[in-house]
Symmetry: D2
Subunit: 264 residues, 4 copies
């Protein structure tokens, strides 16, 4: 029902033009065991890409800032055990060389959509870039930010809508569903949805995931943890394993209506 889009390849997983990306994993990598357990569980449920935070940008300098390079071994193990590609956020141009051999795609977080020095540097790599929308980025600014990457030579860009900052306080952010449909109509980058940040509430992740598919999304990025209430970050918007499995069940019912497939 929607316009043709570019395809982007993360590891062996195709995204765009009918190929659906289901990215899952914990907000932060806390240790080897939790990442391994979570990765195997989400793979069994149907995820075809893994995620986990290594360097975290937190509002307060006193919040948990991620394990940094201590998380590398956990990532290697999760990739080995599942054979799935791994995505994580880069927050500083000086991290790129270390992360390059570890990751299959770089994520640029919402706080860095306007960090053009970082985008230019990523444009010089040959890895796919998942560019999250700034929480107050205009759609037009977001597409221009993507062009900082492509004009440096890297056309493997995927946009990710993750909610915008508005006056509403009942939800953590306002998921901008219009942005999904608008991007599908007006540019050729694949676009995925992050309903975990887009809502900030575990109970809303499923309905907004399905809504994003209906609006044309090429994939989902979902925060999953064995025990969300114990997670070191974002537990309130994280699914447990059963909730993720139930989400995938409904996603699989929806995809055929939109001529999309979820491939292992």
């Amino acid at each position: 029902m929607h316009t043709r889009t570019n395809t982007v390849k993360i590891g062996q997983t195709l995204i765009g033009d009918g190929h659906f990306a289901l990215i899952a994993g914990p907000c932060s990598i806390e240790n080897k065991e939790i990442l391994s357990e979570t990765s195997k569980s989400v793979q069994n449920s149907g995820a075809n890409l893994l995620r986990g935070g290594i360097f975290k940008l937190r509002t307060s300098p006193n919040s948990f800032q991620g394990l940094g390079s201590e998380a590398f071994e956990a990532v290697r193990l999760a990739k080995e055990e599942t054979g799935l590609p791994f995505i994580s956020e880069v927050t500083d141009p000086r991290q790129i060389s270390d992360l390059m051999p570890l990751l299959d795609a770089f994520q640029v977080g919402s706080r860095n959509m306007h960090n053009y020095e970082l985008l230019k540097e990523l444009g010089k790599t040959d890895k796919p870039i998942i560019l999250k929308r700034g929480f107050s980025g205009l759609i037009k600014e977001w597409i221009l930010a993507a062009e900082y990457i492509t004009s440096a030579g890297n056309d493997q860009v995927i946009l990710c809508e993750r909610g915008i900052r508005t006056f509403e306080t009942a939800t953590r952010n306002t998921f901008d569903i219009n942005a999904i449909a608008y991007v599908k109509e007006n540019c050729s980058f694949p676009i995925i949805a992050d309903p975990s940040h887009g809502t900030g509430k575990t109970s809303l992740v499923k309905p907004i995931s399905l809504a994003a598919i209906a609006a044309g999304a090429d994939g989902l990025m979902i925060e999953v943890h064995p025990q969300p209430a114990q997670a070191l970050s974002d537990g309130f918007q994280t699914l447990n394993f059963n909730e993720f499995q139930s989400l995938v069940h409904h996603v699989k019912q929806m995809l055929p209506l939109f001529s999309k497939t979820l491939e292992a």
Copy 2:
């Protein structure tokens, strides 16, 4: 997949708890012929409720303000020809007595969500009220506004999400898809979606309609006109007859997944 909701009955059409409302018609009633032609066409395509503006609230005093009481005869004809219930906006407590014998439900527009004097007066009637969200109304304020109606004695309230005002300018409003899911989880009023105002762009009406269903909406309100480019108001967000028919086709594919039915 969602919580049980109250049912509301507009004429003989049930809304809520699995019964889907498909409301369609022109933004403004321009004359008898256009309303009649539009009403018959949307009924053929599957609409089970009609709408059309009689009193219009426009930003400028120099814009078309609606036909007012001159539109009454056109409404009577459309109802007679189709047998469908008719919904229109009330903008002043002093209009209620005249509109009472004509309409099957009153709509309160976005600009009047905070007009509590009007809401109290509507609470004294026995007609269903479709309460649009103020374009900057908090969800919590919106539910409290509905309580102005129910606490005056009328519990036949349907909420309607129609987009909120944010910093984004690529679309006329930001359709708050989170609000649909949030309301389904937190209160028992049926909730419908107005993707015409929620996007302000004809081409986005279909994807956002389907997204609203996926998020749990109990109905849709869609602006339809035989020639949108000639409409006296809101043409840029209005569907023509073919576009509406195509929308209904996709709506009907989606509804069974969400255990909802569209009844004639």
Copy 3:
């Protein structure tokens, strides 16, 4: 330093073109004694216009809604004792005839800026109208709303900036100081500031009042109560008598720099 503006006359008090309006009084009229005491105190401190809420629009139907017509006698007494003009909010076209002999100017509250039926009706009266900006009204919409009044025949309009709804939560609203300067430059209506609602915090009322004068405001509207902590509404943003006196002291220091005078 700023463009010439129209003058508006409320009772015998001139506003605009160098004549400064200092409007003060309680958010809601609670009883005769408090209104009388407050009115005399603010007059002694320098206020040249009185205010007090008769009909209150409150977010919840269970909050105090104002005394309604029971407050009329208290208003008459305060006017008699001070000789000052009295301003109060009108929330329904059906209140106009009762309020007409009582009030010297009508205030339209933020929730009613888009209530064009009310504005048209007020345009038929010969009383000055203080038109508050909707908390999400564009400046352009606000000026067009004023034209609903003037095009009905009443050119005695004063605009009142009272803060807009944004993502910021540290203050109740974001006082839009740009709007003061923009209106002075782009239209000839006098404009006053309501820093009580614009900040929602007693301690910020003074600095924002002075800022409004520096940006060009033609007046201030300040909530004052003998014991703010006991007020039935808005106590957290209300000044006590001493705080109001201190505010006036600083206002009087500022006005000569901006070629404005505060007349009794």
Copy 4:
């Protein structure tokens, strides 16, 4: 009238606790001649600190990105000719070592308020940091961002309010005057105002500058260019030499009322 604040020293210029900072210069450094001419003119008018953009963050990769290191010589000349300290924006941690011998203070731009890797690196230097508020940063997040700098060991932080992103489109940003008063009351960092970005309109720079002083600001940062209409960036919000001189005239009238002094 306001709380005591820390003092910060940029070169020999004190800021805070009654010492007022008047920072002026072009948005971007375009060449040696324009920077020199502008620096001498703003010094004559009363500026006690200079500014000029070396590395520019622009929404589009096709816009002028600043001269980069080619501007260094122009900065050295301007400092030599005027004896004034120079401030410029740093956009990447890798620029710090090159800029260190050149600049007297680092500015962090609005797009980088959330770039915590940059803030941590600046916290390790001994230069003052002017931290602009993110255009959608909560005041609380802004103060926490400052703590990324202080907790790394550098307590020489000045906050700069430069307008926030809201629904209003009449002005480029909404200058948050409440933020000035709120910061003065709730933390001890000096705070300055950037009315050039805060309004986006040359004609509004003066009234908003004066308003910022009235609300408690410890300084102003103003864009000045000999021919704003020819400037390579931000001409529409830039003052020419006469306009700057007129602004300083009014600033000097205001400062004594607020117990502040502008020292050469």
